[in-house]
């Protein structure tokens, strides 16, 4: 489906055509859902985000520019909704979750010989989950969705310089966490210009 097809669907939604909204939903549901899932790590929350996201498409359709790509706008809404969810959740649940994590977590220095692929993945995912919301969003949008820095700046509603900075520090934090767990070789020095 081309970009102009999105524009055509948007103009049909403006006339109250729910089938056009369904076509847009089918096109973007997977991408938006997986992004929300990667950010929230909660299937139910990701589905709520997806649902609210497309309700907003319908209610704010007059503000949408059919000539622009819809994906960044959808992700911008999804990130905002995920932020609201995370904000509410952190007030009530995170302290309890942290206590449980501490109680069930194993020692951090397991010998490498016992590390398996699944374990390594779990460690990386946990490291990503431990990042701040802003850093996690940038990591997900950059590595999972493949958005450009400019697109991430639009989605996150911040300057490109801030995106670069967040990406740099998020990546550095992840590297340090993985190095601390001896799952990664020493850091390669990056060039800056």
């Amino acid at each position: 489906m081309s970009l102009s097809e999105d524009g055509r669907l948007i103009s049909q939604i403006r006339q109250g055509n729910i089938l056009a909204l369904e076509a847009l939903y089918k096109k973007y549901k997977g991408q938006v859902y997986r992004t929300a899932l990667a950010i929230t790590r909660d299937r139910e929350a990701a589905e709520d985000v997806l649902q609210d996201c497309f309700l907003k498409v319908y209610t704010h359709v007059d503000k949408l520019d059919g000539s622009l790509p819809l994906s960044p706008w959808l992700h911008r809404v999804a990130v905002n909704l995920s932020y609201n969810w995370a904000d509410k959740r952190s007030r009530w649940l995170r302290p309890l979750e942290e206590v449980i994590d501490c109680l069930v977590a194993g020692p951090h220095t397991l010998p490498e010989s016992v590390l398996e692929r699944g374990e390594l993945q779990r460690v990386i995912q946990k490291a990503i989950a431990s990042l701040s919301f802003e850093h996690r969003v940038v990591i997900v949008l950059f590595y999972l969705d493949g958005f450009s820095l400019n697109e991430i700046a639009y989605i996150s509603d911040c300057p490109v310089g801030t995106v670069k900075s967040r990406l740099h520090y998020a990546r550095r934090n992840l590297r340090r966490k993985l190095e601390r767990d001896r799952r990664l070789s020493p850091e390669v020095v990056y060039e800056f210009s």
Binding site: G16, I18, Y25, F142, L149, K164, R171, L174, Y190
Partner: protein
């Protein structure tokens, strides 16, 4: 200052071990994940409910908004001279009449609703 090595192009070879690991872990964590079909049903149901519950903008709502703004302008017009007079006489801490003005405006709303009915 800018990155020279990180590129968003997913087709490129991983630039560093950390990039490869992050991408791999993220892609794998959501691989095959799809929303349940119920999500679209819920969206549709909410849109249907909303469209049934809301009269058209050009009908009752439009008339109500117009009437409410007229009442508001009328009330503010009456209160403006009083406002200026009291404002000059009262000390800052005594300006609770502003609260009374708000209450007066609020109390006029049911009367306006009755007139419409």
């Amino acid at each position: 200052m800018s990155f020279r090595r990180i590129q968003p192009n997913m087709e490129r070879q991983p630039l560093d071990e950390i990039d490869e690991l992050i991408r791999w872990a993220l892609l794998d964590s959501v691989a095959g994940e799809e929303p349940s079909p119920q999500v679209w049903q819920d969206i549709k149901a909410r849109l249907m409910t909303r469209s049934r519950a809301m009269p058209s903008q050009s009908g009752v709502e439009h008339r109500w908004r117009h009437f409410a703004s007229t009442i508001q302008a009328w009330a503010l017009g009456i209160l403006a001279p009083l406002d200026a007079n009291w404002h000059s006489r009262l000390a800052p801490r005594e300006r609770s009449y502003l609260v009374w003005r708000e209450n007066l405006l609020l109390s006029m709303m049911p009367a306006a609703a009755l007139i419409i009915c």
